[in-house]
Symmetry: D2
Subunit: 177 residues, 4 copies
């Protein structure tokens, strides 16, 4: 398997509904996201930031990043800001595949499996894992590297990915093994 690491919706201003429920979970996941980014760099694994555009169609990723870095929660963004070699896919809806060029990009990079991290476990992560599964791309979820709003739904989502999508759910340290 030639993996790519996809970082979902971590460039966030955290000013949306339910953000206060998400922040503690995102904060706990942050060091592990950073660890995965380092691991990807060491192993030459391509990194794709797949991020909501928050309805701002004129924005590109530079602007999204700036907005996130200018927010009161910049400390949740600064440690995991995209490196020079990161790819970027702007999405409008939950799945990283819906109306985005991601499938085309992964094909161009000869990627044959995804390691997913980011937020929200029971929403964009779950639906992005499904998007990979229906395209026959094996999925690894780094368990401690995803953030949730509702813990019970996040746990159900992880079981759905394991049982119904044959996803590997592993600690960050095993994500690229």
């Amino acid at each position: 398997m030639t993996p790519a690491l996809v970082v979902i919706d971590m460039l966030n201003t955290y000013d949306h509904e339910d953000a206060e429920l998400l922040i503690p979970s995102a904060s706990r996941a942050l060091p592990a996201v950073r660890y995965l980014l380092e691991q990807a760099r060491e192993r030459d694994v391509p990194v794709v930031y797949a991020n909501d555009n928050f309805g701002k169609w004129r924005s590109h990723h530079g602007e999204l990043l700036e907005a996130a870095l200018a927010s009161p929660h910049a400390d949740l963004v600064e440690p995991i800001r995209p490196g020079e070699s990161a790819y970027f896919v702007v999405k409008a809806r939950h799945s990283i595949f819906y109306e985005t060029p991601l499938a085309y990009l992964l094909n161009a990079l000869d990627v044959t499996g995804l390691v997913l991290c980011g937020q929200v476990t029971e929403q964009c992560v779950l639906y992005s894992a499904l998007g990979a599964h229906i395209r026959h791309l094996p999925v690894t979820i780094a368990r401690d590297v995803v953030a949730h709003i509702h813990q019970d739904l996040a746990e159900a989502a992880l079981r759905m990915m394991e049982i119904n999508m044959s996803a590997r759910t592993v600690p960050a340290a095993d994500a690229f093994r």
Copy 2:
């Protein structure tokens, strides 16, 4: 709202893995599926059967129906067999929208919302509801008209649809209200 009723994966031979877990739930849902089909007929609501092709790419819906009616579990299929005016969409994967003409068909019928029933609540129903939600089609789930394999995941799936997709989850009697 101009609704369509979508019956998901109910034309089934029930010889797949986990079928024994699904059958009791499908059996309980059956009268309510039948009730919804009658309601749809009375109200001139278009009915779409969206059904897995079970990997048989040469099959059309007549053959899928025949196979299901010839199986030991024909009693779960006979009461809800498609009427003359039903539409049919063959799907290969979990979502009723993925690589199918459903979005095009709904547009051609001027449908602006979906009532979903069928199986499996925590898989195809959940992911089809998502497919509608990301296309901005409001979704109604008839709670007693969906069948599950894992009850706890089914309950989580219904909450995900309510909380994160703003789906209405109602008894069959209220589905078209």
Copy 3:
């Protein structure tokens, strides 16, 4: 290259606008379509009939075939009717890929290139060739096995496929070479 043969819109009742312009061309192409079908059978090349549904969403391919065989132009359909092992994709619009499961089917069959034949050269054949080209599937067009409405546009379409899509345009005898 592992090819598939795609027969485009040849199951036709020829009662649409411009049919009288198409019939002579379809008639001339017929023996070569039949030849390609025989070649495909001998070489175990999968055959996919990709056919318009003519707005009849309740129809499956059996009905489409019956309607075509019951029309005054059944002689243009009978010699090339689908064999037992043929696949079938119903399409609603010009491209064989648009809102159809074709890409998924080709992937499931490990197909890595397409031989296209059928009608109309300057419409569905051209746009289906494009659909293959943007998905990086090499395309072969059997020159004498496509039928047109407007000869000048058909010739331009063949040049577009050659120059801009790197399609091979060859006699039927060389299609699988």
Copy 4:
């Protein structure tokens, strides 16, 4: 009809194959592209730049624009550079709709028809017009505002759009009428 103006592939460094054939045509079209952009601004018509990414997946539109403005052919780009309020869709292949969020964006803007201009008439313009047509979006082509590589194919492409896609092909002055 609520139109949008789509400017196709005009942010170009003109260092690709066949560029020398394209430049004179692009040069001739330039004043009319500028005129359409002014008309769109006066009429509050949304403008979308749909542009190839030239395989540079890390690039956003600011970088694409900078590269084009730094090329020897900046004079073909400067007069039509995107304004503050322009939208931007990066595409990888010929059609402006393929694996891009354009359909979603147009829907979010309540756009019901497209005015297309840019390059190349017989390639991206033709295939983007098809993408609109199969989605039932009426298309207007500003005849003198498209640029070609091969004149005979461009003329055939315009006829294909008129005859087979019911596109309006009009002078720039009539594009928004």
